[in-house]
Each structure stands twice: as structure tokens, then as C-alpha cells.
């Protein structure tokens, strides 16, 4: 019972990292990025490739993956999404266009990865040693991945709340039009937020690849989970995202251990429906007046 709970929390920690990336992209840049999961797989694959090819530890690899993913996502935003932002007359129009464009992008990325690396699963053995916590044993890689996620989420939280740029980010998240009035460069910040979100997700992918098996087409599952977490936690709400991610991790692990491992998405959906019915504004969100 307790071991299932802890396994769930460990999993939820990494989910928080992935969902945080999506939340930055949706909350600040207003792009519902359905290719988020593929960015995760790209991060995971890079970590795999560096570990098997160059014996670089994934914990070091993330320092290389993060800037690369930042640049890649910045380019995606500038080249693919800025034209849509310019063209959109309403927020709804941008939402539809960006959903379709990023959906297309996700297929292109899956297609390219399958083409380049084949449809095989990739897995490597990193820190696959047992470690004992409160009387039960867990894989050391899971615990390390959780610690990694905690550190990165913590840094992001501090940065968003304490730094000048973080405050500007939150202002854009609340209302882009008003943010412009107080002299915030919304266009520039949106691009940075999108890029940063992509980098966080790619790092999440590198971290998760240390203990989960990935393949070129698993991205969509993670997109789905990240979306559910962001909605549960509330758009732009770091604290809500973390709580929601932990809840999802625990719920999935309980369903997988006590009912059937094939029902994890159904568990996520059950939570999704409850949130939609009772708290559509997010766990800690205020009811719109």
C-alpha cells in the first residue's frame, strides 16, 4: 500500500516536470501544443543516444539537451506559430489553428523519428540498483529522477515568483493585452515561454527515459497526460500543476497495481471527468464571476 503510494509519487514528480513545460507554453504563449509529447520523446532519445554512444550520464546530458531544445522550440515558435498568431482574429481562431498545426507537427516528428530510428523501443540501464525507502525497495533511477524533477520544478517556481522576468511571464499569463500596456514585450516573452516550456519538457523526457521504455510513437500518451494535468492544476498555476501531477501519478499506479496495468489512461480520464464536472477552473482556481 505504502510502496504503491511512493511509486506513484515518484512517477508524479516526473509528470509534474512535463506538465510544467506544457503549462508554460499554454499559459504564457497561449499555444495548446499537441506536439509536446514528441518533444519529450526527442529529449528521451537524445539522452539514450548520448548514454549508449558516448557514456554521458543522463544527469549531465540534460545540460546539453535543455539549451538545444530551447533553440529548437524557439525556432518552431518563430517559424510555425508566429504566422498563425498574426493571422488569428480571435483567441478561438488561434486555438483551432495552433491545435491543428501542432498536431500536424507531432505526426511529422513521429514520422521522422520512426524513419530515422525504426519503430523499436529504446531502453538503457542507468542506475538500475535497488534502494530502500521506509522498508520497501525502489529503483534508484526512479528516486534520482524524482529528485531531479523536484529541483527543476523548485527552480522554476522561484524564478517565476521572484525574478523580474518571471513576474512579466505571469503578467502575460493573466492578460496579454494589459501586460502590453505596462511595457512588457509580449511577443518576445511568448517566444521565450514557448522555448522554455519545450526545454523543460525535453529535460522531462531525458529524466523519464532513465526508467521508462519509450518508442517513437509514445509521445501522444504523454501529451494526453500533460494536458489532463494542466487542466486539473489550472492554466498558469505552478502549485496546482504539481499537486495534479502527483495525484495523477498516484491514481495511475494504484489502478495499475490493483486493477489492471492496461487501464492507466482510463484512470487519467476518470480524474479528468471529475475535474470537468466539479472544478473546471482547476484545483485551486477561482470560479469565474
Amino acid at each position: 500500500m505504502i510502496d504503491v503510494l511512493i511509486t506513484g509519487l515518484l512517477l508524479g514528480g516526473t509528470y509534474a516536470l512535463i506538465a510544467m513545460g506544457l503549462n508554460l507554453q499554454y499559459g504564457v504563449a497561449r499555444i495548446m501544443n499537441l506536439a509536446n509529447g514528441e518533444m519529450l520523446v526527442v529529449g528521451g532519445f537524445s539522452a539514450f543516444w548520448m548514454y549508449t554512444g558516448g557514456q554521458i550520464s543522463p544527469l549531465l546530458a540534460i545540460f546539453l539537451i535543455a539549451p538545444l531544445a530551447f533553440v529548437l522550440n524557439w525556432l518552431i515558435y518563430r517559424i510555425m506559430l508566429v504566422p498563425l498568431v498574426k493571422r488569428a482574429k480571435t483567441r478561438g481562431q488561434l486555438e483551432v489553428d495552433s491545435i491543428l498545426a501542432t498536431f500536424g507537427l507531432s505526426f511529422v516528428m513521429v514520422g521522422l523519428m520512426t524513419w530515422a530510428f525504426g519503430g523499436n523501443y529504446f531502453k538503457y540501464s542507468f542506475l538500475a540498483r535497488p534502494i530502500e525507502l521506509v522498508g520497501y525497495t525502489y529503483g534508484l533511477n526512479r528516486v534520482v529522477a524524482f529528485c531531479c524533477a523536484v529541483v527543476i520544478c523548485g527552480l522554476l517556481y522561484l524564478w517565476l515568483n521572484r525574478s523580474r522576468m518571471g513576474v512579466a511571464f505571469r503578467a502575460v499569463a493573466v492578460n496579454p493585452d494589459s501586460a502590453r500596456l505596462v511595457g512588457i514585450d509580449v511577443k518576445h516573452l511568448s517566444a521565450i515561454a514557448f522555448a522554455l516550456g519545450g526545454a523543460v519538457t525535453a529535460v522531462g523526457g531525458a529524466v523519464i527515459s532513465t526508467y521508462l521504455t519509450l518508442d517513437a510513437s509514445t509521445g501522444i500518451v504523454f501529451t494526453m497526460k500533460a494536458l489532463i494535468i494542466v487542466i486539473m492544476g489550472g492554466v498558469g498555476d505552478v502549485r496546482g500543476t504539481i499537486i495534479a501531477a502527483l495525484l495523477l501519478g498516484v491514481a495511475e499506479t494504484f489502478v495499475a497495481s490493483y486493477i489492471d496495468p492496461g487501464l492507466t489512461l482510463a484512470a487519467a480520464y476518470a480524474m479528468f471527468i471529475l475535474i470537468l464536472l466539479f472544478r473546471p477552473q482547476g484545483l485551486f482556481g477561482k470560479k469565474p464571476t
Binding site: 491545435i99 491543428l100 505526426f107 520512426t114 492496461g262
Partner: protein
């Protein structure tokens, strides 16, 4: 009805009769493409009935389609075939109603996300339930031939077009167009936006479910990963948008070229289908945002102007 309406109706009827003659060619390959095209015409047109005016992208077609095939698969041994289609219709409409009630009261993003995973979620539940009961797939053995499926689909297509035409002229259709333009304005002018959206979503779920039920005999062996293949939802979205969901006949002009093109692609580049599907999405968003319908109307306008 005006003279214009009669003209359109006659034109449609003539097309339908011509299409119904296809099995007379007695060509297996043509027949198989015909069934595929008829299937996508039904699915895309009913998809556009809801998503066209409201701009809510539904990715749930595969879920309803799969539910329909399962109605046939489970009922074929105990119930007469003709009762299965109405059952599939009811089940599809009820599921769509429940999904709509949970998501359509809120903004569009929730709906898209919910429908994105719906097919996969239903697939997981059906697989789990099959594992519990110890069966893995079911056989649908009937004497229904390819041309029977084709004629049924044509009949369904005719019904969908009539329904779309009737909805377009009704208060409901008018309400949906206002919702699509500005949901707040719609709510302020006294439209029950949630009810209008749920009602139309139920129509599109119902049609997809019946389509699945009709096509089940074609697959012979039904298993969850086949019935709930998520690719179907994406292809329906692409074809409907390629044609242009704003007009009733829009999806038709998207389905025919895309199905033929996809036949070529699937046989020549079987490993690149996902990549090319993604490229099609991007082409639609960046090159043809209003679909063929938008293109045709632009050309027409240019001709009038010059």
C-alpha cells in the same frame, strides 16, 4: 421550398443514383475504393455538421466508429441484423450526449483534449473487459457483400445530407452559426449554447456509430485495436478540412481526392504514412485554411470581379 432548393435536390438525387450504379461495374478494386469513399463521405460530412459551424475540433470519430462495430460484433449472433443499426445509433448518440454534457458546457479546448484520448480510453476499457471475460476478439460472419455495405452507406449519406440541409434551415442551425461566430453573443441573445452543441454532437456521434456498425461485416474479425484505430479520427478531420467544413458539400470534395491520393501513398510509402499525414495537416493549416471550398469561392469571386 424555392426553385433553387428543388434544383439542388434533383442534382443530389441524380448523383446518388449514379453512385449507386457503381457495383454494376463488377470490379472488386473499384468497389473497395467505393466503400472507403462512401464511408469517409458519411463520416466527414457528419463531422462537419458539428465542427463546421462551431469550430470545435472533434477527434472522437474513431471512438464512436469502434462502438458501432462492437454493437454489430456482439449482437450479430443473437439479434437480427436490421435491429443492430438502430441500437448502434442509440448507443452512439447516448455516449456522444454524455461526452458532450461533460465537456461542451466549457470552452473548446477541454472538448478537443477529451476527444483526443477518447478512442484510446474506450479501447483500454474494452480490452480490459475482454480479458476479464476471457475472449479476445469476435467474428462477424454474415452473407453481407461489399455492395450491400456500399448501398447502406449511400443511404446513410443521403440521410446525413438531408439532415444537414434541414438543420441548416432550422433554428438549431442558425443558433450554431451564431455560436461559431461568437459564443458570448449567442449566450446573450438567449441561446442555450450547451444544449445546441450537445444536440449536434449527438447527431455526429450517432452517424459515426452507425457507420461502424455497417462496416463491421467487412472486417470479419473484430478486435479493439482494429475497431478503435485512432488514425481514423485524424483522417476524417483532414479530409473534412481539406474540402471545407463550412458547406454541406465541402467534405465531399475533400474526401474523393484525398482517398485516391492516400491509396497511392499507402501502397507506395507504407512506412511514411504518419509523416505524410502530418504534412497534410500542415498543408491545410498554412496553404488551404478554408479548404477547397474556400479556394473555389475565391476563384469564383475573382471571375465575377474581372
Amino acid at each position: 421550398m424555392s426553385a433553387q432548393d428543388w434544383k439542388h435536390l434533383t442534382f443530389g438525387a441524380v448523383l446518388l443514383v449514379l453512385a449507386a450504379l457503381l457495383p454494376l461495374t463488377d470490379n472488386g478494386y473499384l468497389m473497395s475504393i467505393g466503400v472507403t469513399i462512401a464511408m469517409y463521405v458519411v463520416l466527414c460530412t457528419s463531422w462537419a455538421l458539428f465542427s463546421g459551424p462551431t469550430h470545435y475540433i472533434s477527434l472522437a470519430t474513431a471512438a464512436f466508429f469502434g462502438i458501432g462495430t462492437y454493437v454489430t460484433a456482439l449482437g450479430i449472433d443473437t439479434l437480427p441484423y436490421w435491429t443492430l443499426l438502430p441500437i448502434a445509433a442509440v448507443v452512439g448518440a447516448v455516449v456522444a450526449g454524455l461526452v458532450g454534457l461533460a465537456t461542451l458546457r466549457l470552452s473548446g479546448v477541454y472538448f478537443v483534449i477529451f476527444t483526443l484520448g477518447l478512442a484510446e480510453m474506450v479501447r483500454q476499457v474494452v480490452t480490459w473487459w475482454q480479458n476479464q471475460t476471457g475472449q479476445h476478439g469476435s467474428y462477424v460472419l454474415t452473407d453481407i457483400m461489399e455492395q450491400h455495405i456500399y448501398w447502406q452507406l449511400l443511404g446513410l449519406a443521403a440521410l446525413v445530407y438531408l439532415a444537414g440541409w434541414a438543420i441548416g434551415r432550422s433554428r438549431l442551425g442558425f443558433a450554431l452559426r451564431i455560436i461559431g461566430d461568437d459564443e458570448q453573443v449567442a449566450a446573450h441573445s438567449g441561446i442555450n449554447t450547451a444544449r445546441a452543441k450537445v444536440a449536434l454532437f449527438m447527431v455526429s456521434g450517432l452517424v459515426a456509430s452507425v457507420t461502424g456498425a455497417i462496416l463491421a461485416p467487412r472486417y470479419v474479425y473484430i478486435e479493439p485495436s482494429l475497431a478503435f484505430a485512432p488514425m481514423l479520427s485524424f483522417q476524417v478531420v483532414i479530409m473534412a478540412l481539406l474540402g471545407g467544413p463550412g458547406r454541406l458539400w465541402g467534405p465531399l470534395v475533400g474526401v474523393i481526392p484525398f482517398t485516391l491520393l492516400w491509396e497511392v501513398i499507402a501502397s507506395n510509402f507504407p512506412n511514411q504514412t504518419v509523416l505524410l499525414l502530418g504534412v497534410s495537416f500542415l498543408v491545410i493549416v498554412y496553404v488551404l485554411p478554408d479548404g477547397f471550398v474556400g479556394l473555389i469561392e475565391k476563384l469564383r469571386k475573382q471571375r465575377v470581379d474581372t
